[in-house]
């Protein structure tokens, strides 16, 4: 099957003094019907990728295809791609309904079809009652829904969404996340969604590309990204992580034995040929507190912070670093340790991720 979007060695340098390399050779394949998320800190090049796909910028080099056809010489108005802009970009001199119908009108669809589709779209985003309002007279959340309806109305093959939820309050945002996910499943349109909110990315996406500094660090399902981060940047950017250094004692085709700072050894998976000193990552919720004897690491419990659903334990390890554990609370339990107690940190060997540097 051909990919909805496929980029090879995609590079973008913005001219200027000095020139800015916003993307340095990106490779992406986005499948049809996929909810694909670009996740990364501000300035990493997320919007730039969308602008290249939409056609507002030309790549400096590399190729870009949509369903096997090159996009490079196609102007934006000939691409079956619509965008929900970071700033919404609603037309201020048109009503809500006129905004939503604009794409169909430009495609030269008959009036009856336009008004029917516009009606459906307004129902979908619950804006029917405001059809004749000017777009300057509706709230931010409503503007966002109009922008979404406007981009969906022409039924594009690919929908680009640039941080569409960032202006919404927490509750509306949670609702819209579910709504967007449902819309994507129902319409079968390929969604390329940009966010710098990792939680949003994890809950909505089929696959996530984690970016930094104009490069893609890892592409995978939310589970893969969370449970098996490829490198320190990804592990750090997604969720909370404890980083430990360890020495590879033996590495037989990826089945490695590592010696932790405490001197205990564990079995872990590592890339072939990895040797010497490595960094491993352990998620706070994958570890639990135990006695110093049963723990893989030993230390002193320095702090216990109660968070309602769970408690965060800070353990000062023998080498002076802090290891954070997260344990769910149950009504009648106490952890059984008080601050100052010597404790052990226990985790199953398979949760330890050996990171690429």
């Amino acid at each position: 099957m051909t990919n909805a979007i496929s980029a090879r060695a995609l590079r973008k340098v913005y001219p200027g003094n000095p020139p800015v390399e916003a993307l340095g050779g990106v490779e992406i394949d986005i499948a049809d019907n996929e909810f694909f998320t670009l996740l990364g800190p501000s300035g990493c090049g997320k919007t730039t990728i969308l602008r290249l796909i939409a056609g507002f910028e030309h790549p400096t080099s590399g190729t870009l295809e949509m369903f096997g056809q090159s996009l490079l010489d196609l102007p934006p108005y000939k691409r079956q791609i619509n965008t929900v802009f970071q700033s919404y970009a609603l037309f201020p001199h048109m009503t809500v309904a006129e905004n939503i119908g604009f794409g169909l009108e430009m495609l030269g669809r008959p009036k009856t079809e336009i008004s029917q589709t516009v009606g459906e779209m307004m129902e979908l985003v619950q804006m029917s009652h405001l059809a004749d309002r000017q777009t300057g007279q509706i709230s931010g959340g409503q503007q966002q829904r109009v922008a979404l309806a406007r981009a969906l109305a022409p039924k594009p093959r690919v929908l680009l969404l640039d941080e569409p939820l960032s202006a919404l309050d927490f509750k509306l945002r949670k609702n819209m996340q579910l709504e967007l996910k449902r819309l994507q499943t129902e319409t079968g349109i390929t969604f390329i969604f940009v966010t710098h909110d990792q939680e949003e990315a994890l809950t909505m996406s089929d696959r996530i590309a984690v970016m930094s500094d104009g490069a893609i660090r890892q592409i995978g399902s939310p589970r893969e990204i969370y449970d098996h981060p490829a490198d320190r940047f990804v592990a750090d950017f997604i969720g909370d992580t404890n980083f430990l250094s360890a020495d590879v004692v033996e590495n037989r085709d990826g089945a490695a034995t590592l010696r932790l700072g405490s001197g205990r050894t564990i079995a872990a998976r590592a890339a072939q040929g990895v040797n010497g000193r490595v960094t491993i990552a352990v998620r706070p919720e994958h570890a639990r507190l135990g006695t110093p004897a049963e723990g893989l690491l030993a230390g002193v419990l320095s702090d216990a912070v109660y968070f309602g659903t769970d408690t965060h334990f800070h353990v000062t390890l023998e080498d002076g670093t802090t290891f954070v554990l997260r344990q769910q609370n149950s009504p009648d339990s106490t952890a059984g340790f008080a601050t100052g107690d010597p404790v052990g940190v226990c985790f199953p060997a398979e949760v330890a991720q050996v990171l690429r540097d």
């Binding site: 939409a54 056609g55 507002f56 102007p75 934006p76 108005y77 000939k78 791609i81 619509n82 965008t83 802009f85 700033s87 970009a89 609603l90 037309f91 201020p92 001199h93 604009f102 794409g103 430009m106 495609l107 406007r150 981009a151 022409p154």
Partner: protein, 267 residues
């Protein structure tokens, strides 16, 4: 509102200077307006209130003719210069930056910088050649000359409006399958109207007011209102001149008010 750290009105003497400036600017105009209602024939000795100079100006055939000519020239000139200005503004804000863009900007605004008398003399000589070659001595020379020096006045507000516009709106339209021409007609132009209107009105007033270039370019019997007035001043001066000036002032003020109301209404 928070107290301003620096409030120029608190500087000693500021208010006095401000009033002096306003007085300098407006006292002569107020006097001119007042004497347009003078019952006597002097422009300096008040002899009571009367509309007689307005009536006299209204019935003066030369004034009628000059006024009509002024309006025709100003309408054509503002129309032509505004059209050119829109195109020029689009070319300097909606294209990729090109070499010599700053030079083009300077060239468009050249009439603001070249001394008007120089342009006037140049046009006189240039048009004289064409007149000899073609034999045509109609109003087109005046209209063309006015259009040329009105361009920067129409261009500046239109360009300002184009630059202040959110480019993402045009991108959104292109994203929604609008061809470049449709983008212009459906998104850029509707937002540009206030700028175009401002530019056209400014050009109109500037053309209406011109003396120097008109004086040099006009053929015999082609007086506009300002050049007619200048001619009158060389002869007997009656408050009729005040009445005509006051009427011109009235037109300018009406334009400004109309523009303010229009731009408010648009929002």
């Amino acid at each position: 509102m928070a107290e301003r750290v620096f409030d120029i009105r608190k500087q000693t003497g500021f208010t006095t200077i401000a009033f002096a400036c306003f007085a300098m600017l407006y006292m002569p105009i107020i006097l001119l307006v007042v004497y347009s209602f003078n019952a006597g024939t002097s422009i300096a000795i008040w002899e009571g209130f009367s509309w007689r100079w307005y009536a006299s100006a209204w019935e003066n055939e030369q004034v009628q003719e000059a006024t009509l000519r002024s309006l025709v020239v100003a309408l054509w000139a503002s129309g032509i210069s505004t059209t050119v200005a829109v195109l020029a503004a689009l070319a300097t804000t909606r294209t990729r930056r090109f070499r010599g863009q700053t030079a083009v900007f300077a060239l468009i605004n050249q009439p603001l910088m070249v001394p008007e008398i120089v342009t006037a003399v140049a046009l006189l000589i240039f048009f004289a050649m064409i007149k000899v070659a073609t034999g045509y001595t109609g109003l087109a020379y005046l209209i063309l000359a006015h259009s040329a020096f009105c361009i920067p006045f129409a261009y500046l507000p239109i360009r300002a409006r184009l630059q202040g516009m959110d480019l993402s709106l045009e991108q959104a339209a292109a994203d929604l399958y609008a061809t470049p021409f449709q983008v212009f007609r459906r998104v850029t132009l509707p937002q540009l109207w206030p700028g175009i209107l401002a530019g056209a009105m400014l050009a109109f007033v500037i053309s209406l007011d011109d003396v120097v270039i008109t004086e040099f370019v006009k053929s015999a019997g082609q007086d506009t209102l300002p050049t007619y007035m200048l001619g009158q001043l060389r002869r007997v001066v009656t408050p009729e001149i005040n009445a005509i000036s006051t009427a011109l002032l009235g037109i300018s003020i009406t334009m400004v008010i109309a523009y303010t109301l229009l731009s408010k209404f648009r929002k």
